[in-house]
């Protein structure tokens, strides 16, 4: 899951929990899922590093992402 997807999932969980429509058991299950989501996001954030590539298109229409040394730019 991307950070954005995790954020969206968390937002959905919070909305469900705040909406009070869930039975308690489901609410607790959602909470557990939310906590796992938070934990994964924290790990992903800590590890995040910018990755720069360059898009090129081969003659046959396929795309290639080559690593790009941005420091040369």
């Amino acid at each position: 899951m991307t950070l954005e997807q995790r954020l969206l999932r968390l937002e959905a969980i919070v909305a469900e929990l705040e909406g009070q429509h869930l039975d308690l058991e489901t609410a607790l299950a959602r909470f557990e899922e939310g906590v796992a989501c938070l934990r994964e996001a924290a790990v992903a954030l800590a590890a995040a590093e910018l990755h720069v590539t360059k898009l090129s298109e081969a003659a046959d229409g396929t795309f290639v992402l080559e690593d790009f040394d941005a420091d040369d730019a």
């Binding site: 954020l7 995040a48 990755h51 898009l55």
Partner: protein, 418 residues
């Protein structure tokens, strides 16, 4: 003989002591031999104009000329005709249709321009004519005019509508940057992204960002990004430069290609004050490439805060849920015991009421109050005078015992009153 030729003859004779008549006959010979020297060797008009053309075009290299436009006419044949004039002179000019693409727009009468072209002669009219291939108006008038015309076309197609603007994704994972892979803009964007250090992949999609090929390359790069389909956000831009340098971002084709981009776009062209058509068409306009990078991603700290906020809300919601559940259980049990108590009291009331009513209805209670009940030998209650016959034995039941009795006479109330 004219005074001029006689003087020539005199001069020649003094210098070289030549035979005057012989000179005259030589001159006649030259007149016969060289075109235009005598009526008999008179030139054709076309010959002269062609010669003039050759001479003029040979004498002047292509150059810039300054003047005011007048009598501009876009002819049916596709060519533009006008005069370039100043206070003292004017010159007829033409822009062939094939050269018009090099001019930002057609000039208007009254515009002060510098025109680049070749001076020549238009033989059919016997006129001097300046063939223009490039033009710049004072105050960038031609570009402004072209820009405004393009802006109107884009607006007419709804491409500048605020309603078209898409939201920029808050956490794009893959950002395509359409720019020169050797430009300052890329360097700036990479620096900002690296500092903010989000979980981002920046995909450089190279295009020339200035020069004649720039519009075509920018369009091609945008089309490549669209075909690839891997980007969640597209930034297009370049660093600052002269108006000329930034002009590709005012190209109608580029603006339309940007508008057609399937994912949200940020435009970042030049410096803060530079506003391009791409800026108007993009979903977000950033004043500089660095600002575009800032707008494109949240910093790690911001993202962490956002997660923390959601975590807090989630915890709060769960706590509330648990508290609610606990208090509901408590409330339910309280309500249940209260209900039971009410029922007990109600039942007690109902029972005593029923007992009271039962008591009131009991014949014994009536006897207690001093009444008696007459019954015949079979035990049937004799409740009415008509139940009796004279000399009939009956039993009178009272509260403390019974009396055996005999009726003497029966007096019905109706009979008595009659």
């Amino acid at each position: 003989m004219t005074p001029r030729s006689s003087r020539t003859t005199n001069d020649s004779s003094t210098l070289f002591d030549l035979d005057a008549p012989r000179i005259t006959s030589l001159i006649d010979e030259v007149g016969e031999t060289f075109p235009g020297a005598s009526p008999r060797s008179a030139l054709a008009v076309s010959t002269l104009t062609q010669t003039a053309k050759d001479i003029v075009e040979g004498a002047f290299v292509p150059l810039w000329v300054r003047g005011e436009i007048s009598d501009f006419k876009s002819h049916r044949n596709g060519h533009w005709y006008f005069c370039l004039r100043d206070r003292a002179a004017q010159m007829r000019c033409v822009v062939w249709s094939r050269d018009q693409g090099a001019l930002p727009a057609a000039p208007d009468d009254g515009m002060q321009v510098a025109a680049f072209g070749q001076l020549g002669v238009y033989a059919a009219r016997g006129e001097m004519r300046f063939t223009v291939t490039r033009m710049e108006a004072d105050g960038d008038g031609l570009r402004q005019k072209a820009l405004e015309a393009t802006r109107k076309r884009l607006a007419a197609d709804g491409l500048l509508d605020a309603a078209r603007k898409r939201e920029i994704p808050r956490h794009p994972r893959r950002i395509a940057f359409v720019t020169s892979s050797s430009g300052a803009a890329l360097h700036d964007v990479v620096a900002v992204l690296r500092r903010r250090a989000p979980a981002v992949e920046l995909i450089v999609v190279h295009a020339a960002v200035q020069g004649d090929t720039a519009p075509r390359e920018l369009c091609a790069a945008l089309a490549r990004v669209a075909r690839w389909g891997g980007a969640e956000l597209v930034i297009i831009g370049r660093g600052g430069g002269s108006r000329e340098d930034l002009w590709a971002f005012n190209d109608e084709r580029v603006a339309r290609a940007l508008a057609a981009c399937p994912v949200p776009t940020i435009s970042a062209v030049g410096h803060e004050i530079d506003m391009s058509l791409c800026d108007l068409v993009a979903d977000l306009r950033a004043p500089t490439p660095s600002a575009a990078a800032e707008a494109a991603v949240m910093s790690r700290a911001e993202t962490a805060l956002e997660f923390a906020g959601l975590g807090r809300r989630m915890t709060d919601a769960v706590k509330t849920r648990l508290r609610d559940a606990r208090s509901r259980v408590l409330q339910d049990s309280r309500r249940m015991s209260a209900a039971v108590q009410v029922r007990v009291v109600q039942n007690r009331h109902r029972m005593s009421a029923a007992a009271g009513r039962l008591n009131a209805l009991s014949p014994l209670a009536i006897l207690q109050r001093g009444y008696g009940v007459a019954r015949d030998a079979e035990g049937h209650t004799l409740a009415s005078a008509s139940d009796f016959t004279p000399n009939e034995a009956f039993v009178l039941q009272l509260r403390d015992g019974a009396v055996d009795a005999v009726s003497r006479a029966v007096r019905l109330r109706e009979a008595a009153s009659q």
